[in-house]
């Protein structure tokens, strides 16, 4: 069928892989038609760049760059300290990095960038345009989720790699370098857990409103408040109930960490570290006390991640075409 006949019939041209171009008579399109997966790919890449302010104005780049630099600082200090004093121990651990710093940095990053990825499309009612393409409903939230997870992964893992480079450059022999690599891997995995949980929670909270500023508050306030609440209750549990047994914190102290995603992640780390008997200096650990409730942390982590991803997908099944 020629393009003219197509236009006359008003039928969209369907390519073999499901790509579609609606011919509304303005201009012919003869190039290759890309299908659903290429659309998702493009949306993911665009969102990933947008999370760092690339392709947006200068102001949008300030905070991502600042937060990234802040998170890299400990790794740089560690490298300098090791280089000037070769026999000292590494200052920063791979697993937890520096918990307080990473928490606040990632919190602000997610609170600022999750609304950036979602709110413009919600506010301007552009979602129907997306879904008019051969893109499925589920593709939009999944693409955004992958993009923000990768973005969080980037700002969390690159400092880890810098730390690794700093450490490896000061060790002698392949054996020690291999040991460092073995320590790095759990750290990278733990960073991935951060990325998935916080990206899904952040996007779910940010998708509640189309106004960017309210979305920033809707994301930042619950994440921050639950973090403080978890700490306050853990402390209260210590002061109000004392230890439940020898070396065993009270139930409230052990379970308070479940309230906030950040302390939850810390609890998962504690639980996974405990059996291996790795001795890590206390100030390097996430300040979550888990007692013998470790498995509960693992279960809640899995449940919360699934619930957040599911909630986001459900939200985008109903949203938008108005």
């Amino acid at each position: 069928m020629s393009a003219e006949a197509e236009a006359a019939a008003g039928q969209p041209a369907l390519a073999a892989d499901g790509g579609v171009i609606h011919n509304i008579g303005y201009r012919r399109y003869d190039a290759e038609r890309l299908g659903r997966w290429r659309i998702v790919q493009a949306l993911t890449w665009h969102s990933y760049r947008a999370a760092f302010g690339l392709g947006r104005g200068g102001k949008a780049k300030v905070f991502p760059a600042l937060l990234f630099a802040l998170l890299c600082l400990p790794a740089a200090v560690n490298a300098v300290a090791l280089a000037t004093n070769p026999h000292s121990q590494p200052l920063v651990s791979y697993d937890a990095y520096i918990p307080a710093l990473r928490t606040v940095t990632v919190l602000i990053f997610v609170a600022l960038e999750a609304p950036n990825l979602l709110s413009a499309d919600l506010r301007n009612h552009t979602l129907p345009l997306y879904f008019a393409r051969p893109m499925h409903r589920i593709d939009y939230p999944v693409a955004k989720l992958i993009a923000l997870s990768l973005a969080v992964l980037t700002i969390v893992e690159i400092p880890e790699l810098l730390l690794y480079i700093g450490n490896v450059s000061q060790v002698h022999g392949a054996g020690q370098a291999w040991e460092q690599t073995l320590r790095l891997l759990p750290g990278l995995l733990y960073g991935a857990a951060w990325a998935v949980l916080l990206a899904s929670l952040g996007l779910l909270l940010a998708s509640t409103t189309g106004r960017r500023v309210f979305a920033i508050c809707a994301t930042g306030v619950p994440l921050f408040f639950s973090y403080i609440l978890a700490h306050a209750l853990a402390q209260a549990g210590q002061q109000a109930f004392g230890p439940a047994g020898p070396g065993q914190p009270s139930a409230l102290t052990s379970l308070a960490g479940l309230i906030s995603p950040f302390t939850l992640l810390g609890g998962v780390l504690r639980w996974l570290q405990a059996p291996r008997g790795v001795r890590v200096p206390a100030q390097m650990l996430q300040a979550t006390t888990v007692g013998h409730y470790g498995p509960v942390y693992g279960a809640v982590f899995a449940a919360l991640t699934i619930a957040a991803v599911g909630g986001l997908i459900l939200r985008y099944r109903k949203i938008g075409v108005a």
Binding site: V104, L107, V213, L229, H231, Q235, A236
Partner: protein
């Protein structure tokens, strides 16, 4: 004081703040504070917990509530454009700012200050030093925080003001103030703590400055913020983009 406050502006502001859907959120601090205090009081074996828990939770809730209330008494009107009608009335800008500010302080005290007092009364007794101290600190906090956040909505537009306010609470008071003691000199949270501590004398409240400094700086910050808000509102520009 005649002419400094306007009853109608005050009443309309209070009604507007309460009639929004998110007014339901304002009940949250009360439920949380009183709930935590009651449950811990009923089950706790020790007695050391009230100062820590109540000061941390109470003053954070105070800051967040003031952010939403102080940011919306003026901000909501700028946002939907009804501020133009208000500015067109023969009420002076200073009166408008002060009336709105008073409404914000009253709402913050009602939503967080009084629940904090009740929670502390349950935990430590209604007339205990801690309870009175926390209440006075919360009153001071409501006065200072609301002035800051109201000023922000007048100086920059309401949207960014909310984000800046949140970053102030998160970065400045949350992260920096705990790492760098000097930051306490410019932190409304520490002003409240210092004022509360001057009455409560509890080792759990750890202000990084003395009560005299806190009161002095608190008054200066409040006055400067309100003056700035008045000046910015006096030079308020009607943006053409809003109409088009």
């Amino acid at each position: 004081m005649r002419g400094l406050l306007n009853g109608v502006v005050l009443r309309v502001t209070l009604r507007a703040a309460m009639s929004r859907k998110r007014a339901v959120l304002f009940a949250l601090p009360a439920i949380l504070l009183i709930g935590v205090a009651a449950v811990l009081k009923a089950t706790a074996k020790g007695t050391a917990w009230p100062p820590d828990v109540l000061s941390i939770l109470g003053y954070l809730l105070l800051a967040l509530t003031a952010l939403i209330v102080g940011g919306s008494v003026l901000g909501a009107e700028i946002d939907d454009g009804s501020i133009l009608h208000l500015l067109a009335t023969p009420v002076s800008r200073r009166t408008i700012v002060l009336s709105k500010y008073l409404a914000a302080v009253a709402l913050t005290v009602a939503f967080v200050g009084i629940p904090l007092y009740v929670a502390s009364a349950i935990a430590a007794g209604a007339a205990s030093k801690l309870t009175i101290g926390l209440l006075v600190g919360a009153l001071a906090g409501a006065v200072i925080y609301n002035a800051i956040f109201l000023m922000l909505t007048a100086v920059v537009s309401p949207g960014p003001a909310l984000a800046i306010g949140l970053l102030y609470i998160l970065l400045w008071e949350g992260l920096l103030a705990s790492l760098v003691p000097g930051v306490g000199l410019l932190s409304a949270d520490h002003y409240s703590l210092a004022i509360a501590n001057s009455i409560a004398h509890s080792s759990a409240l750890q202000p990084n400055l003395t009560v005299g400094t806190a009161v002095g700086l608190g008054i200066v910050v409040t006055a400067v913020c309100l003056a700035l808000a008045t000046i910015c509102l006096s030079g308020f520009n009607v943006k053409g983009g809003e109409v088009a």
